[in-house]
Symmetry: none
Subunit: 349 residues, 2 copies
């Protein structure tokens, strides 16, 4: 139930080697879908955190009204203002679909939700992107407003096991209700039941401890979409299992808005690494791809909580989420010492 | 008259505990209304100061022409560019009212004024927001151009005791004239008379010493709007009293523009904490809610003056208001030592 040694060993195996053997992109190409008129910070924090975790490229797919502000936060991001309002002359569904297809084909993982907002057209665009991601067998993270979208229509994600959802207390409560969890269920069991109800999607329930649950019991082969999309050389384990991991790594005590975006960005980078590992860019291929969402969620949780603790130690009550970004490297090395050592091959870690 | 020990004790009680027991938002959700074509720094300084004081979320409600600049200053803010010019296609009074209602329902306190400007339509939007805030029993701070607005029409705030106004020398002079204070009145008594004339609104008169006055003598029950809006569990003291506190904490000697915005932001966070305290998010409930505006104004004054001193010591004549923002944490700890200690419950402070 706590983070096991073997789980940490598996995580170490999907950290890309830092020895000059990889080329640009092989440590992860991450996309964040979100950013609307009122919300520009959330996608930025997710995207910059993905880079500070170690991804090579970080893209944001957002509404035109959000693009200039997001671009101004950091020149390191690539910002695509393609999520037009349907009333815009620049909009056509075919055009958007083609743009999204082209963009997603270059990414390893897509985070949907930070700063997405709940306007009908943004939700509709997000659904289009999610469907394309599923067709491509991409890893996805759903957070924030995308969890609201999921609560309205569970079918959009059900059974897609290359997904991690990251609900906070309120979002988890709404999702539990949406999937019909009995309110008298012991709190400890809820995350696993939500995962089961969603056909094995990995649930990262944020809280005093983060609970990561992947429950594929009773999942029909038809629901386990992901399997069919794997390259031939990837080991197939059609698991029927329940895995629950609790991460109690000490975090900070300030609950400033935006910290969830750091978590979704860090988790996305783990998933992107998993994708690179899966496709043979590095590593020994010993990790079953069906475990990657669970591993990534645990890794994202450990790094983000450590990051939050370090930033809180420096800033106390004055903590802003921008303070977290600069601590990700130190937190990563605290959690995974020696993983940055040049010349160390991941297979030997 | 100087800051009493019991007043400091009361302030300590409304500082949220930093022990992990609160969730996001329970240390304050602050809104700043202001930001027009020519004025983008003022609402930013108020909003970021509120966060650095310890609020969890900070929103800015501004004109569209100001939004991109404000957003670019910090991704930690949430910026709502809803204050359209009436000639804009995007404007309708019903739509704005509905947007403001929805926004304000999520906030604990609203600061009106920083960078508001004096254009008719912005003043009209500000009045709409103030009325909605009063209907909701929200705490409000009026500063800068909102004080000019108040001078034109005292009725918009009269008797609303959940308000703090923060006039500087010129603004105070104009307000004194507007409420009809005899020019020969001893300067020491003026703040209290302005408070009385406004039906008990707390006045924070900025100057070499800050004078904070709350004078409810002669206030009719009808004028004391706030009382009726209190939750049932809040102690009711219908005070008829005059409280004047002088804050002579040493500040900096550079009078660079923007420091007043830091004060309004810091005061807003104290009020937001007061609201969270009042609704039982933390604390022992022993502080009467009628004292909160006075307490918050004193707390805001102490922290801002200390912040200004620290920033002045480092920057001297070159001082900018952005230099203050980074000193808020240290100033807060100087004024309220041990208040950041993890595990310390506010009730025991």
């Amino acid at each position: 139930m706590p983070v096991s040694r073997s789980l940490l060993d598996s995580l170490r195996k999907i950290i890309p080697p830092l020895d000059g053997s990889l080329h640009k992109g092989q440590s992860g190409r991450v996309g964040i879908m979100g950013g609307a008129q009122d919300y520009t910070g959330a996608p930025f924090f997710a995207a910059i955190s993905a880079l500070r975790m170690g991804a090579d490229l970080s893209h944001i797919i957002c509404a035109p009204s959000a693009a200039n502000a997001i671009k101004s936060y950091a020149p390191d991001l690539i910002v695509h203002p393609v999520l037009h309002h349907p009333s815009s002359e620049s909009f056509s569904p075919e055009c958007l679909k083609s743009e999204l297809s082209s963009l997603l084909s270059r990414l390893h993982v897509l985070v949907i939700g930070p700063g997405l907002g709940r306007e009908d057209y943004m939700i509709s665009h997000a659904k289009m992107a999610l469907n394309l991601a599923k067709e491509n067998g991409m890893y996805v993270v759903l957070d924030a407003d995308a969890l609201w979208m999921l609560g309205q229509d569970l079918g959009i994600l059900k059974g897609y096991r290359r997904a991690v959802i990251t609900p906070n207390v309120m979002e988890f409560k709404r999702l539990s209700e949406a999937v019909g969890i009995d309110p008298s269920t012991p709190p400890d069991s809820c995350a696993s039941l939500v995962s089961k109800a969603l056909g094995g999607v990995t649930v990262l329930q944020k809280g005093p401890e983060d609970v990561i649950a992947t429950n594929t019991r009773g999942v029909s082969p038809k629901e386990a979409h992901d399997i069919s999309k794997l390259p031939d050389n990837v080991p197939r384990e059609r698991l029927e299992e329940e895995t629950v991991t609790k991460v109690d790594t000490l975090g900070g005590f300030k609950r400033v808005g935006g910290q969830g975006d750091v978590l979704s960005g860090c988790t996305a980078t783990w998933l992107a690494w998993g994708k690179c590992y899966e496709t043979g860019a590095f590593g020994d291929g010993s990790i079953s791809t069906t475990h990657l969402p669970h591993l990534a969620a645990v890794g994202g949780s450990i790094v983000t909580r450590t990051t939050s603790r370090f930033a809180f130690q420096k800033n106390g009550r004055a903590l802003l989420t921008q303070d977290l970004v600069g601590e990700i490297q130190r937190a990563f090395l605290e959690a995974f010492p020696d993983s940055d050592t040049p010349g160390q091959k991941s297979g030997k870690l």
